[in-house]
């Protein structure tokens, strides 16, 4: 344990033991202490707009059906039949009124309640043997949403999501609330990379320093209106609550002029002004900072950029949301969505999507060079030499811990949290410090298992339940035929 404690101490002073990017023991602790408790993004409400729409998403090894049930409420069911543990849904998206286990035919309404249990009377002696009443697919321990972003926490006692995100929600709105309608998400593209999950999260949170080097090529081919990579040092990095990100400094002008400069049409600008607070508008309009990449702890990231998508001088902004899903200490599944304001004009949506494809995601020209670095880093972190090396992650900090540049004042930056102009690894440190806090703090007690089907009932209640169960069974037989997939 001593060596583990020293890992966290080193991280807290900005020195990163290189092996944390490829270490099975560290990953085991991330699994037990971090991913067991943090809020994790799984889906957006716009992915499941109609009753019965579902997507299947994973939290590490656990598969959840995220579904809009008939009344319109969103639920997340653990994708495992209560009987023998088969997955009740093996598609990754679709529309269904019921999920029926292919093994023995148990079926569940899309709100999770068990509805069909073949030969309930003959096999179990009815309700007395297996009480269907109140039996549901196991719900996600905690489920909450912000601006339509649906999160799961494996901790039943997780704090409300809003509280967990804290002041980062101020910045989340730039990506996910550009009008009353909010965003619509498309995708995700999914692919697996042989890199540790933390590297991407850190990069998106605050690495403005890599842009001029890693992304030289996209500037050289004229994807941007200006030598954008060099402009990176004029932006700031901010950290607020449970997330942080990077910004670009825009040329002088009003809020409207700045939003037009990155390619937003006037009708979208008008709607942004209606939904953003004065402080949110001031970050762009008065302070001149435009949000770019960001990460919410632990493994969700955002990007906002504005390349040229056709010959000419016009740029078009796009937004992308992603998660870095850990598969192991050296493999990550990237899930990358394109996001756009639901009220945006159709032509804008098309070109914004094109901008996304050109820059980020599985084929994105920025992304391609990033991943090459991260795979290489992960490979190198495996060996014994990496255990001797403390990477210097102290950029922006002098020997005594004081900042190289002073944080922006309230007059200079209207957003919450702390922000610094120029290159620095403030946000990577924030992210890793949080990571250290979670890893050091062992869960106090193991979760108690959930018992299903064994509810003690009085004889009279049992008789009433029996009648109800018989009715439910008949209903289940009648509806089983309609449980087939409806196409979206």
């Amino acid at each position: 344990m001593d060596s583990e404690h020293s890992i966290y101490d080193e991280v807290r002073r900005g020195m990163i033991p290189a092996h944390i990017y490829n270490d099975a023991d560290v990953f085991a602790r991330e699994r037990s202490n971090l991913f067991s408790r943090a809020w994790l993004f799984v889906a957006h409400e716009s992915e499941i707009p109609q009753p019965g729409d579902y997507v299947v998403r994973k939290v590490l090894d656990d598969s959840f059906i995220v579904v809009r049930e008939e009344k319109g409420e969103i639920k997340a069911h653990f994708n495992m039949c209560l009987h023998r543990g088969m997955q009740v849904c093996r598609a990754e998206m679709g529309n269904a009124s019921h999920f029926r286990c292919p093994y023995h035919g148990w079926s569940y309404r899309n709100d999770g309640r068990i509805i069909g249990l073949p030969f309930h009377q003959e096999a179990y002696g009815g309700e007395e043997g297996f009480s269907r009443k109140g039996a549901t697919l196991l719900p996600a321990p905690s489920l909450d949403s912000y601006n339509g972003l649906i999160f799961i926490s494996m901790d039943p006692d997780a704090p409300p999501l809003r509280e967990y995100l804290g002041d980062f929600t101020f910045y989340l709105d730039f990506y996910t609330k550009q009008s009353e309608a909010g965003i619509e998400l498309r995708g995700p593209q999914r692919w697996r990379v042989n890199a540790n999950w933390k590297i991407g999260a850190e990069n998106f949170a605050g690495d403005m320093y890599h842009t001029p080097q890693t992304h030289t090529s996209v500037v050289e081919i004229g994807l941007f209106r200006e030598p954008k990579a060099e402009k990176r040092k004029d932006g700031n990095t901010y950290w607020a609550g449970n997330g942080g990100g990077t910004t670009y400094k825009l040329p002088p002008g009003t809020l409207e002029e700045k939003l037009r400069y990155v390619g937003y049409p006037d009708e979208m600008i008008e709607r942004m002004k209606q939904v953003w607070t004065q402080e949110q508008q001031d970050v762009i309009g008065e302070n001149g900072f435009m949000i770019s990449a960001a990460s919410a702890f632990p493994n969700m990231s955002f990007v906002h950029n504005w390349p040229m998508v056709e010959d000419g001088d016009d740029v078009l902004p796009f937004i992308s949301i992603r998660t870095w899903q850990p598969i192991s200490e050296n493999e990550t599944e990237v899930m990358s969505w394109f996001a756009v304001d639901a009220n945006a004009p159709e032509e804008f949506k098309e070109l914004s999507y094109k901008a996304y494809l050109m820059c980020f995601g599985s084929t994105g020209m920025f992304e391609q060079d990033d991943v090459e670095n991260w795979v290489s880093l992960t490979n190198t972190a495996k060996g014994s030499m990496a255990r001797r090396l403390l990477l210097n992650g102290r950029m922006g900090m002098l020997k005594d811990g004081s900042p190289v540049v002073q944080p922006l004042t309230d007059d200079e930056f209207a957003g919450p949290g702390v922000a610094h102009v120029g290159y620095g690894e403030y946000n990577q440190r924030h992210l890793l410090n949080r990571w250290a806090d979670y890893l050091e703090d062992d869960p106090s007690e193991p979760q108690r298992p959930v018992v299903v089907g064994l509810v003690r009932t009085t004889p009279s209640a049992a008789a009433a339940e029996k009648a109800a169960a018989a009715k439910a069974e008949a209903e289940a037989q009648a509806t089983a035929g309609s449980a087939k997939e409806a196409s979206a």
Partner: protein, 195 residues
């Protein structure tokens, strides 16, 4: 799923300007000169892509090309779709492809420096006449093997392609390519290649 290029291209977000050519009739005889010409075209292209001769490759693409690879999703039998609505890996026109090629030609496309060792295996070629004058259709299966570094396991991508080839001044140009990749989750670090 039966790949019908015209339908997938029409459903794609950026497929508006593309040719709408559809197959007509049965596949051409393997001895048909047009089948031999198209087969040769596809094999020559595979060598160009293996060698990363991308400028040369770009020259063989029509000005109005639609180059599409939808994202595949696992859906229940009978759902009626196996691609993610409104999302693709590539949904490209000549401009965006030209930027991708231009990037590889800079000295700073790090992901391909050192370059991958690539092998495009192209097989199961069959060819068709189409309902558009001067345009033929070729189906093929492609397996890409990609090796990077000395000991990293190679990655493979398996896909079916439906291509529209247009005869212009005695030369075939690729006017539409729809790639139906066989994996929902790609197991390669990026698509810094072409299929």
């Amino acid at each position: 799923m039966t790949l019908i290029g015209a339908d997938l291209s029409a459903q794609a977000v950026l497929g508006k300007g593309a040719t709408t050519a559809r197959k007509s009739g049965e596949s051409l005889s393997f001895g048909d000169p047009r089948h031999l010409e198209l087969s040769r075209w596809l094999v020559e292209e595979a060598y160009a892509l293996d060698d990363q001769r991308y400028e040369e490759w770009l020259d063989t693409l029509a000005e109005d090309i639609h180059y599409l690879m939808p994202v595949r999703v696992t859906t229940a039998l009978g759902a009626g779709y196996t691609t993610s609505p409104g999302m693709a890996h590539w949904d490209e026109n000549k401009y965006s492809l030209s930027r991708r090629v231009a990037r590889f030609l800079t000295e700073h496309a790090w992901t391909e420096d050192p370059p991958s060792r690539l092998r495009h295996y192209v097989t199961n070629i069959r060819t068709f006449e189409s309902d558009v004058e001067g345009e033929l259709i070729a189906d093929s299966a492609v397996l890409l093997f990609r090796s990077r570094g000395d000991t990293n396991p190679g990655s493979t991508i398996s896909a079916q392609r439906e291509d529209v080839l247009r005869l212009v001044d005695g030369r075939y140009q690729l006017a539409r390519r729809v790639i139906l990749v066989d994996e929902s989750v790609l197991r390669t670090q990026n698509l810094a290649i072409f299929l």
